[in-house]
Symmetry: C2
Subunit: 350 residues, 2 copies
Amino acid sequence: MPPEGDVVSVPHQEAVRRRNLGAVLRYVHLRGATSRAELTSELGLNRSTIGALAAELTAVGLVHEGAPRASGRAGRPSPVVRTNAAGFSAYALTVEAGRLRAARIGLGGDILDSRTVARPSGNDLTATLTGLARELRPTDGSVPLGCAVAVVGTDRDPALGETLGEALGLDHPVQVGNLADLAALAEHTRGAAVGVDDVIHLHGDDGISAGLIIGGRGFTGHNGIGAQAGHMVVNPDGHPCRCGHRGCWEAEISAAAGDRARAALWLGHGLANLVNILNPGAVVFGGTLAGLYRDGHDQVRGRLHASALPACRAGLRLSVALLGDDAPLIGAAELAFERLLSDPLNTAAA
Amino acid sequence: MPPEGDVVSVPHQEAVRRRNLGAVLRYVHLRGATSRAELTSELGLNRSTIGALAAELTAVGLVHEGAPRASGRAGRPSPVVRTNAAGFSAYALTVEAGRLRAARIGLGGDILDSRTVARPSGNDLTATLTGLARELRPTDGSVPLGCAVAVVGTDRDPALGETLGEALGLDHPVQVGNLADLAALAEHTRGAAVGVDDVIHLHGDDGISAGLIIGGRGFTGHNGIGAQAGHMVVNPDGHPCRCGHRGCWEAEISAAAGDRARAALWLGHGLANLVNILNPGAVVFGGTLAGLYRDGHDQVRGRLHASALPACRAGLRLSVALLGDDAPLIGAAELAFERLLSDPLNTAAA
């Protein structure tokens, strides 16, 4: 397929430098402590450029340069660059069917602190989320850079991001994303699907939501609500679904819940459809589907083999979420860090 | 979702010039004769740059600059740039269930000449295609730039592209693509789905194949075989399918074929699933599905409304292929022109 035909102009040296600062910081953020030598070879920039970029990031405190790792090779060992996880963090929140979670996550992706509470009924959602996030405020003077919230389903308060941003005293709205999309992002960037360009992340909660990575990019769909694969009708004469229809994938799995093997067969049935339609390189099961896949592994694979075309399932990797239940929180943090990673110096200095 | 974190370097002025030559040629190729003034405003380059680029393209014969169109505005009218359709063309071939087609398509997208024959049985495919293409050879001394072939389904001869390239005397293999993918590309670039970033093109032949445009880019999937949506199982107790499974979408539509209204309901059923999963901005029906959608419009829309989530179908545009049965040929030509459009001067001079 043809690339886009946009015109280009010569970018300013300054824009190139900023973008490369972002690339170095992003690499260390995602892969952990990395030697300058590895950054040089992985990013395809020369040694002196990497040295200058690392020095700039060190000067504003975003990274530390530390003792070299023994390389076992001759020559001067290369200093190791790591993120300043304590100094820069983001809030990540999730609104799940039965609970709310909040975490403060350091640059580099480690969860520094977290809280989980039962989901309140009524309108207390924003107040409860705000309260949770406030409990996580850093006490060492470091300033959180941003916040994002992962929400299940399509039914959401359009003012949630703004209200939360104000309540947390941020100068910009909290970003809101689909829980399955953010879990997919987390597994794609640092979990079970690193290096795979076409990924389906299936998250089970009170329903099934799908997060898609297509061609290496997060899929959001025309209306920005992502993939509502749980409402694919798999059985026209099936069970009623909470959406008002009948025979939806999530309704059939849920109706079979007392019989784990049957539920796993339905999981495999819908999976085969998605594999035929989207020919993914990896499918990751998260939330309640992780357990169903683990227990019903044989049924899921059996049904997949029976119903998916060989050409579509060739090379497919099935796995449970490597980041477990934390995938949505970690994905939300990735979203919140994005501004910093795109333009490190301006964001860190602001 | 975060953009990719690739490093960039300052592109050479020469690379910028080449890319911009491609952007101007692509614009005129897709949109038809265009004034320099419109190119200036649409491509965001200044007037003298557009003038220089148009002059370079004119010098190698890729475009003609002609009499200005009356603009109705004061000031000097702006010369019009149009492609040299007679001088530069590509071969486009299709391998469909029951027939083979071949066309020579001029730069700008017009079909200059075409042939259609019944699909031969056995191994005569390559010989027949080659014969068809040879009949289309230009007699005016102009040289075809390339060739691409659109093939239905996943089962294809891996040597087809190379064999055809040799037989046609090209210095590079013929490119091979899925028929539905190339039809989707054609409708996206110059048909019913121009300007829509998320598109499903459903092509009916002896089965149903889907071509997807996601985020403005052609979707190929992990194994490069595209979306095999016809084999989504929509009815676990349904009719046997030629793939060996039961209740596939294409099998249910095909089994209901004597009752057009029932077939249209099944079309709507699978459509609703795809809309829930992919939240497209446009769905285009081509091949035999164009007629089924036209005749069973009410059933398709009725079932879509009954089974797709409102959030997924909001803003969705349904239409038949604007390019009709020529969409796969035109898409194949786009693929064949891509080398030229990416680097006009080097390709045209070669």
